[in-house]
Protein backbone atom coordinates (compact mmCIF):
# COMPACT_ATOMS: atom_id res chain seq x y z
CA UNK A 1 0.00 0.00 0.00
CA UNK A 2 1.15 3.47 -0.68
CA UNK A 3 1.05 6.06 2.00
CA UNK A 4 -2.22 7.93 1.46
CA UNK A 5 -0.66 11.10 2.79
CA UNK A 6 1.74 11.27 -0.11
CA UNK A 7 0.48 11.92 -3.55
CA UNK A 8 3.04 10.79 -6.13
CA UNK A 9 1.59 13.20 -8.69
CA UNK A 10 2.46 16.16 -6.48
CA UNK A 11 6.14 15.34 -6.74
CA UNK A 12 6.02 15.38 -10.51
CA UNK A 13 4.44 18.82 -10.53
CA UNK A 14 7.41 20.24 -8.64
CA UNK A 15 7.43 22.39 -5.55
CA UNK A 16 5.41 25.15 -7.15
CA UNK A 17 2.16 23.26 -7.02
CA UNK A 18 2.65 22.19 -3.42
CA UNK A 19 3.51 25.69 -2.37
CA UNK A 20 0.50 27.07 -4.15
CA UNK A 21 -1.82 24.60 -2.60
CA UNK A 22 -0.28 25.19 0.80
CA UNK A 23 -0.76 28.91 0.72
CA UNK A 24 -4.22 28.41 -0.70
CA UNK A 25 -4.97 26.14 2.21
CA UNK A 26 -3.71 28.73 4.64
CA UNK A 27 -5.93 31.36 3.13
CA UNK A 28 -8.86 29.00 3.29
CA UNK A 29 -8.51 28.15 6.95
CA UNK A 30 -7.54 31.67 7.98
CA UNK A 31 -11.08 32.93 8.70
CA UNK A 32 -11.84 30.17 11.17
CA UNK A 33 -8.44 30.40 12.80
CA UNK A 34 -8.77 34.16 13.16
CA UNK A 35 -12.29 33.81 14.49
CA UNK A 36 -11.16 31.24 17.05
CA UNK A 37 -8.21 33.36 18.07
CA UNK A 38 -10.40 36.41 18.55
CA UNK A 39 -12.89 34.29 20.41
CA UNK A 40 -10.20 33.25 22.84
CA UNK A 41 -7.82 36.16 22.92
CA UNK A 42 -10.27 39.03 23.20
CA UNK A 43 -11.93 37.84 26.40
CA UNK A 44 -8.59 36.76 27.81
CA UNK A 45 -7.00 40.07 26.95
CA UNK A 46 -9.91 42.00 28.38
CA UNK A 47 -9.87 39.95 31.56
CA UNK A 48 -6.21 40.66 32.04
CA UNK A 49 -6.77 44.31 31.20
CA UNK A 50 -9.64 44.69 33.68
CA UNK A 51 -7.67 42.87 36.33
CA UNK A 52 -5.16 45.70 36.30
CA UNK A 53 -7.77 48.44 36.76
CA UNK A 54 -9.70 49.73 39.71
CA UNK A 55 -13.07 48.97 38.22
CA UNK A 56 -16.11 48.80 40.46
CA UNK A 57 -19.57 49.21 39.00
CA UNK A 58 -20.78 50.83 42.21
CA UNK A 59 -18.22 53.57 41.82
CA UNK A 60 -18.63 54.91 38.34
CA UNK A 61 -16.10 57.29 36.96
CA UNK A 62 -12.49 56.82 36.09
CA UNK A 63 -11.03 53.36 36.08
CA UNK A 64 -7.40 54.08 36.96
CA UNK A 65 -4.60 51.64 36.31
CA UNK A 66 -3.50 50.14 39.62
CA UNK A 67 -1.06 47.39 38.68
CA UNK A 68 -1.34 44.23 40.72
CA UNK A 69 -3.37 45.66 43.55
CA UNK A 70 -6.43 43.62 42.61
CA UNK A 71 -4.34 40.47 42.67
CA UNK A 72 -2.90 41.33 46.05
CA UNK A 73 -6.39 42.00 47.35
CA UNK A 74 -7.82 38.81 45.91
CA UNK A 75 -4.99 36.56 47.01
CA UNK A 76 -4.88 37.88 50.57
CA UNK A 77 -8.63 37.67 50.99
CA UNK A 78 -9.29 34.93 53.59
CA UNK A 79 -12.11 33.74 51.36
CA UNK A 80 -9.56 33.00 48.65
CA UNK A 81 -7.66 30.49 50.77
CA UNK A 82 -10.90 28.82 51.74
CA UNK A 83 -12.03 28.76 48.11
CA UNK A 84 -8.79 27.14 46.93
CA UNK A 85 -9.11 24.39 49.53
CA UNK A 86 -12.78 23.91 48.81
CA UNK A 87 -12.06 23.64 45.10
CA UNK A 88 -9.37 21.03 45.63
CA UNK A 89 -11.43 19.04 48.15
CA UNK A 90 -14.41 19.14 45.84
CA UNK A 91 -12.40 17.91 42.86
CA UNK A 92 -10.53 15.25 44.81
CA UNK A 93 -13.61 14.04 46.65
CA UNK A 94 -15.72 13.70 43.53
CA UNK A 95 -12.88 12.03 41.63
CA UNK A 96 -12.38 9.51 44.41
CA UNK A 97 -16.07 8.68 44.73
CA UNK A 98 -16.73 8.46 41.00
CA UNK A 99 -13.65 6.38 40.18
CA UNK A 100 -14.07 3.91 43.03
CA UNK A 101 -17.85 3.84 42.70
CA UNK A 102 -17.62 3.68 38.92
CA UNK A 103 -15.36 0.64 39.06
CA UNK A 104 -17.66 -1.12 41.50
CA UNK A 105 -20.80 -0.39 39.49
CA UNK A 106 -19.07 -1.34 36.25
CA UNK A 107 -18.07 -4.65 37.84
CA UNK A 108 -21.71 -5.25 38.77
CA UNK A 109 -23.03 -4.26 35.36
CA UNK A 110 -20.50 -6.51 33.68
CA UNK A 111 -22.09 -9.56 35.29
CA UNK A 112 -24.68 -11.31 33.18
CA UNK A 113 -28.07 -10.54 34.68
CA UNK A 114 -31.71 -10.20 33.83
CA UNK A 115 -32.76 -6.84 32.40
CA UNK A 116 -29.19 -5.76 31.74
CA UNK A 117 -30.08 -3.26 29.03
CA UNK A 118 -32.67 -1.48 31.16
CA UNK A 119 -30.42 -1.37 34.21
CA UNK A 120 -27.61 0.14 32.15
CA UNK A 121 -29.87 2.89 30.81
CA UNK A 122 -31.08 3.63 34.36
CA UNK A 123 -27.51 3.89 35.58
CA UNK A 124 -26.61 6.30 32.81
CA UNK A 125 -29.66 8.51 33.24
CA UNK A 126 -28.39 10.95 35.94
CA UNK A 127 -25.95 12.20 33.36
CA UNK A 128 -28.82 13.53 31.26
CA UNK A 129 -30.25 15.66 34.07
CA UNK A 130 -29.15 19.29 34.05
CA UNK A 131 -26.92 20.30 36.97
CA UNK A 132 -29.37 22.96 38.20
CA UNK A 133 -32.27 20.53 38.09
CA UNK A 134 -30.47 17.71 39.82
CA UNK A 135 -29.14 20.05 42.50
CA UNK A 136 -32.66 21.34 43.10
CA UNK A 137 -34.03 17.83 43.30
CA UNK A 138 -31.38 16.86 45.81
CA UNK A 139 -31.87 20.02 47.84
CA UNK A 140 -35.64 19.96 48.06
CA UNK A 141 -36.58 16.31 47.78
CA UNK A 142 -33.73 14.56 49.57
CA UNK A 143 -31.72 16.88 51.78
CA UNK A 144 -34.38 19.25 53.00
CA UNK A 145 -34.40 18.96 56.83
CA UNK A 146 -38.19 19.20 57.01
CA UNK A 147 -39.63 17.63 53.88
CA UNK A 148 -36.70 15.73 52.47
CA UNK A 149 -36.72 11.97 52.11
CA UNK A 150 -33.61 11.70 54.23
CA UNK A 151 -35.28 13.69 57.01
CA UNK A 152 -38.24 11.31 56.94
CA UNK A 153 -35.89 8.38 56.96
CA UNK A 154 -34.00 9.74 59.95
CA UNK A 155 -37.23 10.36 61.81
CA UNK A 156 -38.47 6.91 60.92
CA UNK A 157 -35.51 5.29 62.62
CA UNK A 158 -35.80 7.70 65.52
CA UNK A 159 -32.98 10.12 64.79
CA UNK A 160 -32.85 13.88 64.64
CA UNK A 161 -33.13 15.04 60.99
CA UNK A 162 -29.81 16.19 59.69
CA UNK A 163 -29.59 19.49 57.82
CA UNK A 164 -27.11 18.40 55.21
CA UNK A 165 -26.66 21.66 53.38
CA UNK A 166 -25.92 23.74 56.46
CA UNK A 167 -24.20 21.13 58.64
CA UNK A 168 -22.02 19.58 55.94
CA UNK A 169 -22.36 21.83 52.91
CA UNK A 170 -19.22 20.82 51.04
CA UNK A 171 -19.76 17.11 51.63
CA UNK A 172 -23.35 17.45 50.42
CA UNK A 173 -22.22 19.18 47.26
CA UNK A 174 -19.58 16.51 46.73
CA UNK A 175 -22.37 13.96 47.03
CA UNK A 176 -24.58 15.71 44.51
CA UNK A 177 -21.81 16.24 41.98
CA UNK A 178 -20.60 12.64 42.41
CA UNK A 179 -24.11 11.44 41.70
CA UNK A 180 -24.02 13.40 38.44
CA UNK A 181 -20.63 12.19 37.34
CA UNK A 182 -20.84 8.58 38.45
CA UNK A 183 -22.61 7.51 35.23
CA UNK A 184 -19.87 8.99 33.09
CA UNK A 185 -17.15 7.17 35.01
CA UNK A 186 -19.18 3.97 35.03
CA UNK A 187 -19.78 4.12 31.30
CA UNK A 188 -16.14 4.63 30.39
CA UNK A 189 -14.93 2.00 32.85
CA UNK A 190 -17.57 -0.50 31.77
CA UNK A 191 -16.58 -0.30 28.13
CA UNK A 192 -12.95 -0.68 29.13
CA UNK A 193 -13.82 -3.68 31.24
CA UNK A 194 -15.67 -5.29 28.38
CA UNK A 195 -12.64 -4.96 26.15
CA UNK A 196 -10.63 -7.23 28.45
CA UNK A 197 -9.80 -10.50 26.74
CA UNK A 198 -11.77 -13.21 28.54
CA UNK A 199 -8.93 -15.67 27.97
CA UNK A 200 -6.75 -13.52 30.23
CA UNK A 201 -9.22 -13.90 33.05
CA UNK A 202 -9.46 -17.62 32.39
CA UNK A 203 -5.69 -17.92 32.34
CA UNK A 204 -5.53 -16.14 35.69
CA UNK A 205 -8.22 -18.46 36.98
CA UNK A 206 -6.15 -21.46 35.91
CA UNK A 207 -3.12 -19.85 37.52
CA UNK A 208 -4.90 -19.96 40.84
CA UNK A 209 -5.86 -16.30 41.20
CA UNK A 210 -8.78 -15.63 43.53
CA UNK A 211 -11.52 -13.30 42.29
CA UNK A 212 -9.91 -10.47 44.20
CA UNK A 213 -6.43 -11.21 42.80
CA UNK A 214 -7.91 -11.40 39.33
CA UNK A 215 -9.40 -7.96 39.84
CA UNK A 216 -6.24 -6.52 41.38
CA UNK A 217 -3.65 -7.98 39.01
CA UNK A 218 -5.55 -8.27 35.74
CA UNK A 219 -8.66 -6.08 35.62
CA UNK A 220 -7.36 -3.01 37.41
CA UNK A 221 -4.15 -2.66 35.35
CA UNK A 222 -6.29 -3.13 32.25
CA UNK A 223 -8.49 -0.24 33.43
CA UNK A 224 -5.62 2.13 34.20
CA UNK A 225 -5.89 3.96 30.92
CA UNK A 226 -9.64 4.40 31.21
CA UNK A 227 -9.23 5.63 34.78
CA UNK A 228 -6.74 8.20 33.52
CA UNK A 229 -9.21 9.43 30.94
CA UNK A 230 -11.96 9.69 33.53
CA UNK A 231 -9.73 11.66 35.90
CA UNK A 232 -8.49 14.05 33.22
CA UNK A 233 -11.89 14.82 31.75
CA UNK A 234 -13.68 15.11 35.07
CA UNK A 235 -11.03 17.38 36.55
CA UNK A 236 -11.54 19.86 33.76
CA UNK A 237 -15.24 20.06 34.49
CA UNK A 238 -15.03 19.79 38.26
CA UNK A 239 -12.70 22.78 38.60
CA UNK A 240 -15.53 24.97 37.38
CA UNK A 241 -18.50 23.60 39.31
CA UNK A 242 -20.93 26.44 39.77
CA UNK A 243 -24.60 25.64 39.28
CA UNK A 244 -24.76 23.06 42.06
CA UNK A 245 -23.33 25.53 44.58
CA UNK A 246 -25.44 28.40 43.34
CA UNK A 247 -28.66 26.42 43.62
CA UNK A 248 -28.00 24.72 46.95
CA UNK A 249 -25.80 26.57 49.44
CA UNK A 250 -24.86 29.76 47.60
CA UNK A 251 -21.34 29.19 48.84
CA UNK A 252 -22.27 29.22 52.50
CA UNK A 253 -22.55 29.04 55.35
CA UNK A 254 -19.78 31.62 55.34
CA UNK A 255 -17.33 30.35 52.79
CA UNK A 256 -17.78 26.69 53.72
CA UNK A 257 -18.78 25.68 50.23
CA UNK A 258 -17.36 28.50 48.11
CA UNK A 259 -15.06 27.32 45.39
CA UNK A 260 -12.96 29.51 43.14
CA UNK A 261 -15.58 29.84 40.42
CA UNK A 262 -18.16 30.84 42.94
CA UNK A 263 -15.84 33.32 44.65
CA UNK A 264 -15.22 35.06 41.34
CA UNK A 265 -18.95 35.21 40.78
CA UNK A 266 -19.37 36.77 44.23
CA UNK A 267 -16.72 39.38 43.52
CA UNK A 268 -18.06 40.43 40.17
CA UNK A 269 -21.81 40.21 40.52
CA UNK A 270 -22.42 40.56 44.24
CA UNK A 271 -19.83 43.18 44.97
CA UNK A 272 -19.77 44.53 41.42
CA UNK A 273 -15.98 44.59 41.62
CA UNK A 274 -15.03 43.80 38.04
CA UNK A 275 -11.32 44.42 38.64
CA UNK A 276 -10.95 41.94 41.49
CA UNK A 277 -13.19 39.40 39.74
CA UNK A 278 -10.99 39.61 36.65
CA UNK A 279 -7.92 39.12 38.79
CA UNK A 280 -9.66 36.06 40.28
CA UNK A 281 -10.41 34.80 36.80
CA UNK A 282 -6.75 35.03 35.84
CA UNK A 283 -5.79 33.25 39.05
CA UNK A 284 -8.32 30.51 38.21
CA UNK A 285 -6.82 30.10 34.75
CA UNK A 286 -3.35 29.78 36.23
CA UNK A 287 -4.57 27.32 38.84
CA UNK A 288 -6.33 25.18 36.23
CA UNK A 289 -3.15 25.03 34.21
CA UNK A 290 -1.08 24.06 37.23
CA UNK A 291 -3.50 21.26 37.99
CA UNK A 292 -3.48 20.18 34.35
CA UNK A 293 0.32 20.05 34.16
CA UNK A 294 0.44 18.22 37.45
CA UNK A 295 -2.12 15.67 36.27
CA UNK A 296 -0.47 15.12 32.91
CA UNK A 297 2.86 14.54 34.62
CA UNK A 298 1.40 12.19 37.15
CA UNK A 299 -0.91 10.04 35.09
CA UNK A 300 -0.42 11.16 31.51
CA UNK A 301 2.20 8.49 31.00
CA UNK A 302 -0.60 5.95 31.22
CA UNK A 303 -1.84 7.27 27.92
CA UNK A 304 1.39 6.47 26.09
CA UNK A 305 1.88 3.22 24.24
Amino acid sequence: MTDPGRNPGADLGGDMATQHSRSAARVMIAPSVILLLLWMLVPLGMTIYFSLLRYNLLMPGANPFIGFENYAYFLTDPAFQAAIWNTLILVAGVLFITVVGGILIALLLDQPMWGQGLVRILVISPFFVMPTVSALVWKNMFMNPVNGLFAHLFEFIGLQPFDFLSQAPLASIIGIVSWQWLPFATLILLTAMQSLDSEQIEAAEMDGASPFSRFWYIVLPHLSRAITVVILIQTIFLLSIFAEIFVTTAGGPGTASTNLTFLIYLESLQRFDVGTASAGGVVAIILANIVAIFLMRMIGKNLDA
Partner: protein, 333 residues
Amino acid sequence: MGQITLEKVTKSFGDVEVIPPLDLTIEDGEFCVFVGPSGCGKSTLLRLIAGLEDISSGAIKIDGSDASDVPPAKRGLAMVFQSYALYPHMSVRKNIAFPMKMAGVSQDEQNRRIESAAKALNLTDYLERRPGQLSGGQRQRVAIGRAIVREPAAFLFDEPLSNLDAALRVGMRLEISELHERLKTTMIYVTHDQVEAMTMADKIVVLRAGNIEQVGSPLDLYKHPRNLFVAGFIGSPKMNLIEGEAAARHDAKTIGIRPEHIEVTEAGEWQGRVGVAEHLGSDTFLHVHDTGLTDILTVRSTGEMGLRHGDCVSLSPRHDQIHRFDASGLRMA
Protein backbone atom coordinates in the same frame (compact mmCIF):
# COMPACT_ATOMS: atom_id res chain seq x y z
CA MET B 1 0.94 -38.06 38.03
CA GLY B 2 -1.69 -37.15 35.53
CA GLN B 3 -4.18 -39.75 34.50
CA ILE B 4 -7.40 -38.18 33.27
CA THR B 5 -10.60 -40.13 32.87
CA LEU B 6 -13.83 -38.86 31.38
CA GLU B 7 -16.92 -40.89 32.24
CA LYS B 8 -20.14 -40.28 30.34
CA VAL B 9 -19.28 -36.62 30.13
CA THR B 10 -21.82 -34.43 28.36
CA LYS B 11 -22.01 -30.72 27.71
CA SER B 12 -24.94 -28.67 26.50
CA PHE B 13 -25.12 -24.95 25.85
CA GLY B 14 -28.80 -24.29 26.46
CA ASP B 15 -30.65 -26.82 24.33
CA VAL B 16 -27.70 -27.56 22.11
CA GLU B 17 -25.83 -30.68 23.09
CA VAL B 18 -22.28 -30.06 21.99
CA ILE B 19 -20.77 -33.15 23.62
CA PRO B 20 -22.95 -36.26 23.74
CA PRO B 21 -21.98 -38.84 26.39
CA LEU B 22 -18.29 -39.44 25.99
CA ASP B 23 -15.84 -41.82 27.64
CA LEU B 24 -12.12 -41.40 27.38
CA THR B 25 -9.02 -42.23 29.37
CA ILE B 26 -5.74 -40.41 28.99
CA GLU B 27 -2.91 -42.27 30.66
CA ASP B 28 -0.26 -40.66 32.80
CA GLY B 29 2.58 -39.27 30.70
CA GLU B 30 0.71 -39.64 27.46
CA PHE B 31 0.74 -37.08 24.64
CA CYS B 32 -2.87 -37.07 23.57
CA VAL B 33 -4.06 -35.05 20.59
CA PHE B 34 -7.67 -34.09 19.89
CA VAL B 35 -8.30 -33.55 16.19
CA GLY B 36 -11.41 -32.90 14.24
CA PRO B 37 -13.01 -30.38 11.93
CA SER B 38 -13.83 -26.88 13.12
CA GLY B 39 -16.70 -26.71 15.59
CA CYS B 40 -16.58 -30.37 16.55
CA GLY B 41 -16.09 -29.60 20.23
CA LYS B 42 -12.34 -29.95 20.73
CA SER B 43 -11.95 -26.69 22.62
CA THR B 44 -15.10 -27.37 24.61
CA LEU B 45 -13.77 -30.77 25.66
CA LEU B 46 -10.47 -29.24 26.70
CA ARG B 47 -12.20 -26.50 28.66
CA LEU B 48 -14.32 -29.12 30.41
CA ILE B 49 -11.17 -30.92 31.48
CA ALA B 50 -9.62 -27.62 32.58
CA GLY B 51 -12.71 -26.74 34.56
CA LEU B 52 -13.32 -23.48 32.71
CA GLU B 53 -16.65 -24.92 31.59
CA ASP B 54 -18.93 -26.99 33.85
CA ILE B 55 -19.92 -30.43 32.63
CA SER B 56 -23.64 -31.00 32.18
CA SER B 57 -23.47 -34.60 33.43
CA GLY B 58 -20.98 -37.39 33.93
CA ALA B 59 -17.68 -37.22 35.77
CA ILE B 60 -14.11 -36.12 35.18
CA LYS B 61 -11.51 -37.96 37.24
CA ILE B 62 -7.93 -36.88 37.67
CA ASP B 63 -5.70 -39.62 39.04
CA GLY B 64 -8.77 -41.56 40.05
CA SER B 65 -10.44 -38.91 42.19
CA ASP B 66 -13.52 -37.07 41.03
CA ALA B 67 -12.61 -33.56 39.90
CA SER B 68 -15.93 -32.62 38.31
CA ASP B 69 -16.67 -29.93 40.87
CA VAL B 70 -13.10 -28.91 41.62
CA PRO B 71 -12.32 -25.33 40.55
CA PRO B 72 -9.79 -24.95 37.71
CA ALA B 73 -6.91 -23.80 39.89
CA LYS B 74 -7.21 -26.83 42.16
CA ARG B 75 -7.12 -29.41 39.38
CA GLY B 76 -3.38 -29.07 39.00
CA LEU B 77 -3.61 -28.56 35.24
CA ALA B 78 -1.96 -25.83 33.21
CA MET B 79 -3.38 -24.45 30.01
CA VAL B 80 -1.76 -22.73 27.06
CA PHE B 81 -4.29 -20.67 25.15
CA GLN B 82 -4.47 -20.05 21.44
CA SER B 83 -4.17 -16.30 22.01
CA TYR B 84 -1.42 -17.00 24.59
CA ALA B 85 -3.42 -14.92 27.12
CA LEU B 86 -0.29 -13.31 28.53
CA TYR B 87 -0.78 -10.45 30.97
CA PRO B 88 0.18 -7.43 28.85
CA HIS B 89 1.14 -5.08 31.68
CA MET B 90 3.55 -7.52 33.34
CA SER B 91 7.09 -8.30 32.28
CA VAL B 92 7.89 -11.78 31.02
CA ARG B 93 9.38 -12.57 34.42
CA LYS B 94 6.22 -11.47 36.23
CA ASN B 95 4.05 -13.37 33.78
CA ILE B 96 5.92 -16.56 34.47
CA ALA B 97 5.98 -15.87 38.20
CA PHE B 98 2.27 -15.15 38.42
CA PRO B 99 0.99 -18.69 39.09
CA MET B 100 3.73 -19.22 41.69
CA LYS B 101 2.93 -15.90 43.34
CA MET B 102 -0.71 -16.94 43.54
CA ALA B 103 0.32 -20.26 45.05
CA GLY B 104 2.54 -18.55 47.63
CA VAL B 105 5.80 -20.11 46.43
CA SER B 106 8.84 -18.57 48.16
CA GLN B 107 10.77 -15.89 46.28
CA ASP B 108 13.93 -18.02 46.04
CA GLU B 109 12.04 -20.96 44.66
CA GLN B 110 10.24 -18.66 42.22
CA ASN B 111 13.52 -17.31 40.91
CA ARG B 112 14.98 -20.77 40.61
CA ARG B 113 12.05 -22.05 38.58
CA ILE B 114 11.91 -18.93 36.42
CA GLU B 115 15.61 -19.24 35.61
CA SER B 116 15.35 -22.88 34.69
CA ALA B 117 12.20 -22.38 32.61
CA ALA B 118 13.75 -19.39 30.86
CA LYS B 119 16.84 -21.40 30.07
CA ALA B 120 14.87 -24.32 28.74
CA LEU B 121 12.75 -22.05 26.56
CA ASN B 122 15.45 -19.64 25.43
CA LEU B 123 13.85 -16.70 27.16
CA THR B 124 16.68 -15.59 29.42
CA ASP B 125 17.36 -12.43 27.42
CA TYR B 126 13.72 -11.40 27.34
CA LEU B 127 12.73 -11.71 30.98
CA GLU B 128 12.40 -7.97 31.56
CA ARG B 129 10.41 -7.28 28.40
CA ARG B 130 6.68 -6.88 28.10
CA PRO B 131 4.73 -9.41 26.02
CA GLY B 132 3.99 -6.66 23.50
CA GLN B 133 7.70 -6.45 22.71
CA LEU B 134 8.03 -10.12 21.78
CA SER B 135 7.51 -12.07 18.57
CA GLY B 136 4.74 -14.59 18.25
CA GLY B 137 7.04 -17.53 18.87
CA GLN B 138 8.55 -15.89 21.93
CA ARG B 139 5.11 -15.15 23.32
CA GLN B 140 4.19 -18.74 22.80
CA ARG B 141 7.24 -19.79 24.76
CA VAL B 142 6.37 -17.42 27.59
CA ALA B 143 2.90 -18.98 27.73
CA ILE B 144 4.51 -22.41 27.92
CA GLY B 145 6.95 -21.14 30.56
CA ARG B 146 4.06 -19.90 32.65
CA ALA B 147 2.55 -23.37 32.42
CA ILE B 148 5.75 -25.26 33.20
CA VAL B 149 6.62 -23.46 36.44
CA ARG B 150 3.42 -24.65 38.03
CA GLU B 151 4.69 -28.22 37.65
CA PRO B 152 1.20 -29.35 36.69
CA ALA B 153 -0.16 -32.87 36.51
CA ALA B 154 -1.02 -32.26 32.89
CA PHE B 155 -0.66 -29.59 30.22
CA LEU B 156 -3.59 -28.53 28.09
CA PHE B 157 -2.84 -26.87 24.78
CA ASP B 158 -5.58 -25.31 22.65
CA GLU B 159 -4.25 -24.89 19.12
CA PRO B 160 -1.10 -23.26 20.47
CA LEU B 161 0.64 -22.98 17.11
CA SER B 162 -2.16 -21.75 14.91
CA ASN B 163 -1.05 -18.11 15.13
CA LEU B 164 2.50 -18.86 13.99
CA ASP B 165 3.90 -19.01 10.49
CA ALA B 166 4.68 -22.35 8.92
CA ALA B 167 8.41 -22.44 9.64
CA LEU B 168 8.00 -21.39 13.24
CA ARG B 169 5.24 -23.91 13.67
CA VAL B 170 7.54 -26.77 12.74
CA GLY B 171 10.14 -25.46 15.18
CA MET B 172 7.69 -25.05 18.06
CA ARG B 173 6.21 -28.47 17.31
CA LEU B 174 9.62 -30.01 17.87
CA GLU B 175 10.16 -27.96 21.01
CA ILE B 176 6.90 -29.12 22.52
CA SER B 177 7.65 -32.75 21.64
CA GLU B 178 11.09 -32.28 23.15
CA LEU B 179 9.51 -30.82 26.28
CA HIS B 180 7.23 -33.81 26.58
CA GLU B 181 10.15 -36.19 26.30
CA ARG B 182 11.93 -34.32 29.05
CA LEU B 183 9.08 -33.74 31.50
CA LYS B 184 7.14 -36.93 30.81
CA THR B 185 4.02 -35.07 31.89
CA THR B 186 0.61 -35.79 30.45
CA MET B 187 -0.21 -33.41 27.63
CA ILE B 188 -3.50 -32.88 25.89
CA TYR B 189 -3.18 -31.00 22.67
CA VAL B 190 -5.96 -29.66 20.49
CA THR B 191 -5.30 -29.03 16.84
CA HIS B 192 -6.97 -29.29 13.50
CA ASP B 193 -3.64 -29.67 11.77
CA GLN B 194 -3.35 -33.36 11.21
CA VAL B 195 0.40 -33.17 10.55
CA GLU B 196 0.80 -31.89 14.11
CA ALA B 197 -1.45 -34.68 15.31
CA MET B 198 0.46 -37.40 13.46
CA THR B 199 3.92 -36.21 14.42
CA MET B 200 3.40 -35.36 18.07
CA ALA B 201 0.83 -37.74 19.44
CA ASP B 202 1.12 -40.94 21.40
CA LYS B 203 -2.61 -41.15 21.07
CA ILE B 204 -4.96 -39.37 18.71
CA VAL B 205 -8.61 -38.82 19.47
CA VAL B 206 -10.61 -38.04 16.34
CA LEU B 207 -13.76 -36.07 17.10
CA ARG B 208 -16.76 -35.32 14.95
CA ALA B 209 -19.69 -33.30 16.32
CA GLY B 210 -18.67 -34.12 19.88
CA ASN B 211 -18.47 -37.85 19.21
CA ILE B 212 -15.26 -39.82 19.39
CA GLU B 213 -14.82 -41.44 15.99
CA GLN B 214 -11.64 -43.33 16.85
CA VAL B 215 -8.90 -43.41 19.44
CA GLY B 216 -5.49 -44.84 18.68
CA SER B 217 -1.87 -44.30 17.91
CA PRO B 218 -1.08 -42.27 14.79
CA LEU B 219 -0.05 -45.31 12.81
CA ASP B 220 -3.04 -47.22 14.06
CA LEU B 221 -5.35 -44.58 12.65
CA TYR B 222 -3.34 -44.39 9.48
CA LYS B 223 -3.34 -48.12 8.87
CA HIS B 224 -6.70 -49.06 10.29
CA PRO B 225 -9.15 -46.19 10.12
CA ARG B 226 -12.32 -47.39 11.78
CA ASN B 227 -14.65 -45.60 9.39
CA LEU B 228 -14.82 -43.37 6.34
CA PHE B 229 -14.59 -40.15 8.36
CA VAL B 230 -11.30 -41.12 10.00
CA ALA B 231 -10.02 -42.52 6.72
CA GLY B 232 -10.67 -39.21 5.02
CA PHE B 233 -9.44 -37.08 7.89
CA ILE B 234 -6.11 -38.73 8.70
CA GLY B 235 -3.39 -38.64 6.08
CA SER B 236 -2.16 -35.95 3.76
CA PRO B 237 -2.91 -35.84 0.89
CA LYS B 238 -6.24 -37.41 1.66
CA MET B 239 -7.06 -41.03 1.00
CA ASN B 240 -8.80 -41.69 -2.30
CA LEU B 241 -12.30 -42.99 -1.66
CA ILE B 242 -13.78 -44.94 -4.52
CA GLU B 243 -17.34 -46.16 -4.88
CA GLY B 244 -19.19 -48.16 -7.51
CA GLU B 245 -17.95 -51.00 -9.62
CA ALA B 246 -14.34 -50.91 -8.52
CA ALA B 247 -15.52 -51.09 -4.90
CA ALA B 248 -18.01 -53.84 -5.67
CA ARG B 249 -15.18 -55.92 -7.02
CA HIS B 250 -13.81 -55.90 -3.48
CA ASP B 251 -17.24 -56.69 -2.00
CA ALA B 252 -17.46 -53.23 -0.42
CA LYS B 253 -19.60 -50.11 -0.71
CA THR B 254 -16.52 -47.91 -0.68
CA ILE B 255 -12.87 -48.69 -0.97
CA GLY B 256 -10.10 -46.38 0.10
CA ILE B 257 -6.54 -46.24 -1.10
CA ARG B 258 -3.92 -43.76 0.02
CA PRO B 259 -2.09 -41.76 -2.66
CA GLU B 260 1.22 -43.33 -1.65
CA HIS B 261 -0.14 -46.79 -2.33
CA ILE B 262 -0.79 -46.19 -6.00
CA GLU B 263 2.12 -46.65 -8.36
CA VAL B 264 2.64 -45.31 -11.83
CA THR B 265 3.44 -48.36 -13.94
CA GLU B 266 3.74 -49.42 -17.57
CA ALA B 267 0.54 -51.37 -17.84
CA GLY B 268 -1.53 -50.81 -14.71
CA GLU B 269 -5.05 -51.62 -13.68
CA TRP B 270 -6.30 -48.02 -13.95
CA GLN B 271 -5.73 -45.42 -16.69
CA GLY B 272 -6.10 -41.67 -16.49
CA ARG B 273 -4.94 -38.28 -17.64
CA VAL B 274 -2.66 -36.11 -15.52
CA GLY B 275 -4.18 -32.84 -14.37
CA VAL B 276 -2.14 -30.77 -11.98
CA ALA B 277 1.19 -32.24 -10.96
CA GLU B 278 2.62 -30.82 -7.76
CA HIS B 279 6.38 -31.23 -7.70
CA LEU B 280 7.68 -31.04 -4.15
CA GLY B 281 11.14 -32.31 -4.99
CA SER B 282 11.06 -35.29 -2.70
CA ASP B 283 7.61 -36.28 -3.91
CA THR B 284 5.28 -35.58 -6.72
CA PHE B 285 1.54 -35.39 -6.19
CA LEU B 286 -0.36 -36.21 -9.34
CA HIS B 287 -4.01 -35.32 -9.70
CA VAL B 288 -5.27 -37.84 -12.20
CA HIS B 289 -8.55 -37.28 -14.06
CA ASP B 290 -10.75 -39.48 -16.19
CA THR B 291 -10.01 -42.71 -14.37
CA GLY B 292 -13.70 -43.61 -14.20
CA LEU B 293 -13.29 -44.15 -10.46
CA THR B 294 -13.60 -40.77 -8.79
CA ASP B 295 -13.37 -37.21 -10.02
CA ILE B 296 -9.75 -36.83 -9.14
CA LEU B 297 -7.44 -39.59 -8.04
CA THR B 298 -4.46 -38.39 -6.06
CA VAL B 299 -1.24 -40.28 -6.57
CA ARG B 300 1.95 -39.75 -4.68
CA SER B 301 5.19 -40.87 -6.28
CA THR B 302 8.58 -40.51 -4.78
CA GLY B 303 11.15 -38.46 -6.59
CA GLU B 304 10.62 -36.41 -9.71
CA MET B 305 8.28 -37.49 -12.42
CA GLY B 306 8.65 -36.37 -15.98
CA LEU B 307 4.89 -36.12 -16.35
CA ARG B 308 3.12 -33.03 -17.58
CA HIS B 309 -0.41 -31.74 -17.73
CA GLY B 310 -2.48 -33.85 -20.08
CA ASP B 311 -0.15 -36.89 -20.21
CA CYS B 312 -1.75 -40.30 -19.98
CA VAL B 313 -0.72 -42.51 -17.10
CA SER B 314 -1.31 -46.04 -16.11
CA LEU B 315 -1.70 -46.78 -12.41
CA SER B 316 -1.69 -49.86 -10.27
CA PRO B 317 -2.94 -49.88 -6.69
CA ARG B 318 -1.30 -52.03 -4.06
CA HIS B 319 -4.02 -54.50 -3.28
CA ASP B 320 -2.81 -55.25 0.23
CA GLN B 321 -3.27 -51.57 1.09
CA ILE B 322 -6.88 -51.21 0.06
CA HIS B 323 -9.30 -50.30 2.86
CA ARG B 324 -12.83 -51.58 2.52
CA PHE B 325 -15.89 -49.89 4.03
CA ASP B 326 -19.49 -51.09 4.19
CA ALA B 327 -22.67 -49.17 3.43
CA SER B 328 -22.74 -47.57 6.91
CA GLY B 329 -19.20 -46.32 6.40
CA LEU B 330 -17.62 -48.74 8.85
CA ARG B 331 -14.43 -50.59 8.12
CA MET B 332 -14.78 -54.18 6.92
CA ALA B 333 -12.31 -56.73 8.15
